[in-house]
């Protein structure tokens, strides 16, 4: 069957989405599309309306930079599962929220509810033992339960039960109508990706209200997003060093993160970049003085960063811990539909900045790709992405467009009966925001997908066959969001 092809951060009328006549053809089309490595599932959700549910599949096609949309009007309550690992979690979400049963689903378990009798995978072998970690963890970490099946010190299986952070963000999005309330909700979906999330939110709102942002806003948003990437990647590098008890790396990277987030504070008043990005225009200008400050900050940062990173690359004591730990193969990453930094560390060419250009990114952007898929690969991806972000910010600052004097609407009205999709490459990976409007132009559905949604499965696979004492370092190398998954 045909699909509707739209570009990233644009909108289309709901009626344009082709609806499959029967489930079999919908299923077959989706399976065919997803079998190619250049396509992955960006979102799959159930859209409720007066007449029932429509299953909407959104597939990101990297070859022609389009998002392919197709739908199916669900009339029954039982359908065969798509049987594609990458869509397993989406099917679990639909089953949990709307009661549709997917027969033949490999893992029909709750996704965001945490019942006492959660059906954990169990081993009957007397040689194996189970270790349960969480939901309350030592240190300041979000809640989530990890159930390990181990043989001695070796992990055979890890199952992760999430849902403790479920706040109903998507539903709140519909019940709150003030623009600022919605914007704050969007950036709170995952607090460590505040800039990325609010860019995705702003894009769908702008697409639905038919507003074209000027180049200045686009460049500012790009800089903010890359600064967030630098800050979080640096913090992660510090934490990775901390987990292998390498104090020097821990201290140096920890110190380096501070000037970057302090710059965000100077720019928008929040170190984590909250309120930095809002629909239509930048609430806080990137003034001449701020630009000079940024260049100086990056200059000082880069010097120490390069020195520390070069040291780690040649330091056997640290490499011994990072190399060949927590490996995810390219095949596994592709099968589970991994996205973002974790996918690129496993050799997948998957970067929205290149494949579905938005803001100031263009197709000439070169993603950092590593092939080993281990903790060290993810560490190297972070190091090199920081460097590429710094040079990107420098080139954007060198050629900064002027601020245009277009008027910014105080309130906005959205196109009725439309759907807008925005993909943004946050520091962790692909964020997907989808907004659907009803006949009167009100939001009828808002879907958020954090990259963690795909990548938690990657963590489960990564730790198999590793020592249980290496779990923290594997976990840290992904640094996934609990609240981004639980919403």
């Amino acid at each position: 069957m045909e699909t509707l092809k739209i570009k990233n951060a644009t909108c289309a009328a709901l009626a344009q989405i082709p609806l499959a006549e029967d489930y079999a053809s919908f299923r077959q089309t989706v399976r065919e599309l997803l079998s190619s490595e250049s396509c992955h599932c960006a979102h799959y959700f159930a859209l409720p309306d007066e007449t029932g549910l429509t299953l909407v599949m959104c597939i990101a096609n990297d070859t022609d930079s389009t998002l392919e949309l197709l739908g199916f009007k669900a009339v029954e309550m039982t359908y065969p599962s798509l049987a594609v690992t990458a869509t397993d979690r989406f099917e679990r979400e639909i089953a949990e929220n709307h009661g549709i049963v997917f027969s033949g689903h490999k893992w029909p378990k709750p996704l965001r509810t945490t019942p006492d009798d959660y059906p954990f995978y169990r081993s009957d072998n007397e040689e194996h033992h189970e270790v349960g970690v969480g939901p309350i963890h030592a240190g300041v970490i979000e809640p989530g339960h990890f159930r390990f099946t181990c043989e001695g010190e070796m992990i055979l299986n890890l199952e992760i039960m999430l849902g403790y952070q479920h706040r109903g963000v998507e539903r709140l999005m519909l019940s709150k109508s003030m623009p600022e309330q919605r914007a704050m909700l969007a950036e709170s979906a995952a607090g460590d990706t505040a800039v990325g999330s609010s860019i995705a939110f702003s894009s769908v709102i702008e697409a639905l209200s038919g507003f074209q942002t000027d180049d200045y806003t686009k460049v500012c948003r790009t800089i903010a997003c890359e600064l967030e990437r630098i800050a979080i990647h640096t913090g992660d590098l510090s934490a990775i060093c901390g987990d292998v008890a390498y104090q020097l790396g821990n201290a140096v990277y920890g110190r380096l993160r501070t000037p970057i987030i302090n710059f965000m504070q100077k720019w928008c008043g929040n170190r984590l970049g909250k309120t930095c990005v809002r629909p239509f225009a930048m609430p806080y200008d990137l003034t001449e003085a701020l630009r000079e400050d940024l260049l100086a900050t990056l200059g000082a940062y880069e010097k120490d960063f390069t020195q520390m990173s070069n040291k780690i690359r040649r330091f056997p004591s640290v490499l011994a811990r990072l190399e060949r730990t927590g490996t995810v193969s390219t095949e596994q990453a592709n099968e589970i539909g991994a996205v973002g930094m974790a996918a690129r560390a496993s050799g997948l060419q998957r970067d929205i900045r290149k494949s579905h250009p938005y803001l100031a990114y263009g197709p000439d952007f070169i993603p950092v790709v590593k092939h080993h898929g281990d903790v060290y690969a993810r560490t190297r991806v972070r190091m090199e992405e920081i460097q590429s972000s710094i040079s990107l910010i420098r080139s954007l600052l060198a050629d900064m467009p002027c601020k245009s004097d277009i008027s910014v609407p105080e309130t906005y009205s959205l196109k009725p009966s439309s759907i807008a999709v925005s993909l943004v490459e946050g520091w962790r990976g692909e964020l997907c925001h989808i907004a659907v409007t009803d006949a009167s132009g009100g939001l009828s559905c808002y879907k958020i997908k954090d990259p963690s949604f795909h990548n938690w499965t990657a963590l489960e696979l990564a730790v198999r066959g590793n020592e249980i004492s290496d779990f923290p370092i594997c976990n840290k190398s992904f640094n996934l969001s609990y609240c981004g998954h639980d919403l």
Binding site: A245, A320, T325, P472
Partner: protein, 297 residues
């Protein structure tokens, strides 16, 4: 008696000195050298909470652990000045006294029936089992060199400065004892005392359920244990009149603490499955020293 007092005095600053060294190495201000003591004092003032699932083993374990280390400290002389407790073969008593303390710690950890603590207990018992031969090879070497079987006589006779050979032996034994101290006190590169990650812990995870006074006692015992190994190292080099002995004693303690701090600052921790190999190789080195001493004598 004198050595016992000196060990306690050294234990007051040993751990603080290690973390101070680490702070300086990483360019941080860091806490003062008496912070570990302040931490312990704070814990002593707090109430203790016991899990309903634990038995008396869990309650007595911290006391037995502390007592074992205190008595072990009493066995260590100050060079020519005798220890509080001394008899033929007291170094065997010393080693197994420490094992008794460890045994109770492990039993208490198992008593909590937590999957973490069982894991930590299994690691700790494996590593101390592997480290035990190293200690006996070292003491064997000293017994061979001096012809005595008591700490008192051995250290009264050890003279590191008589020849190049004895100085070399003393330095290599000191290095080995330092590594054993690192293993037994759960420091890098075998264990990481700073980690908050239960799954990677060895010693720390065994005391997760301890609180208040018991935890403070375990901490203080840890400081004392560190200083005790420092005293063993110092003993290899002690000579001369009392003032020289005291001076060398503190110099050796401070040097050991700084060496530990510097090691911890500039290297990462080993992967868990690498630890047994590492400890085995320490035992092997001690064995080589023993054999070469036999050969040369």
């Amino acid at each position: 008696m004198l050595s016992f007092i000196l060990i306690i005095a050294a234990s007051l600053f040993f751990s603080g000195l290690v973390s101070r060294t680490k702070s300086i190495c990483s360019g941080r201000k860091g806490p003062g050298i008496f912070q570990p003591l302040r931490d312990a004092a704070r814990l002593f003032r707090k109430g203790t909470i016991y899990s309903r699932n634990t038995s008396f083993v869990f309650r007595v374990a911290p006391l037995v652990y502390a007592a074992s280390v205190i008595i072990a400290c009493a066995c260590i002389p100050l060079g020519p000045f005798p220890a509080l407790l001394h008899f033929e073969g007291d170094f065997i008593f010393f080693a197994y006294l420490l094992s008794v303390g460890k045994f109770f710690c492990i039993a208490a950890a198992l008593d909590t029936a937590s999957s973490f603590e069982g894991m930590g207990a299994s690691r700790e018992s494996l590593y101390s089992m592997l480290a035990e031969p190293a200690f006996f090879f070292i003491m064997g070497t000293l017994a061979l060199l001096t012809g005595f079987h008591s700490f008192n006589d051995i250290f009264a006779l050890t003279d590191a400065y008589s020849s190049l050979f004895s100085l070399g032996t003393a330095i290599s034994l000191a290095a080995l004892i330092l590594v054993i101290a690192l293993i037994e006190s759960s420091r890098l590169p075998v264990d990481d005392p700073k980690t908050h990650l239960e799954l990677t812990m060895i010693h720390e995870v065994m005391i997760l359920d301890n609180s208040g006074f018991d935890l403070g006692l375990i901490f203080c015992t840890g400081y004392l244990k560190f200083a005790m190994y420092g005293a063993l190292i110092a003993n290899l080099f002690l000579c001369g009149p009392l003032w020289a002995c005291v001076l060398i004693f503190f110099a050796a303690q401070i040097l050991s603490a700084v060496a530990v701090g510097v090691t911890e600052s500039f290297m990462a921790r080993f992967r868990m499955n690498h630890n047994p190999e590492f400890i085995f190789s320490i035992a092997a080195l001690a064995f080589i020293i023993l054999i070469s001493t036999l050969y040369i004598i």
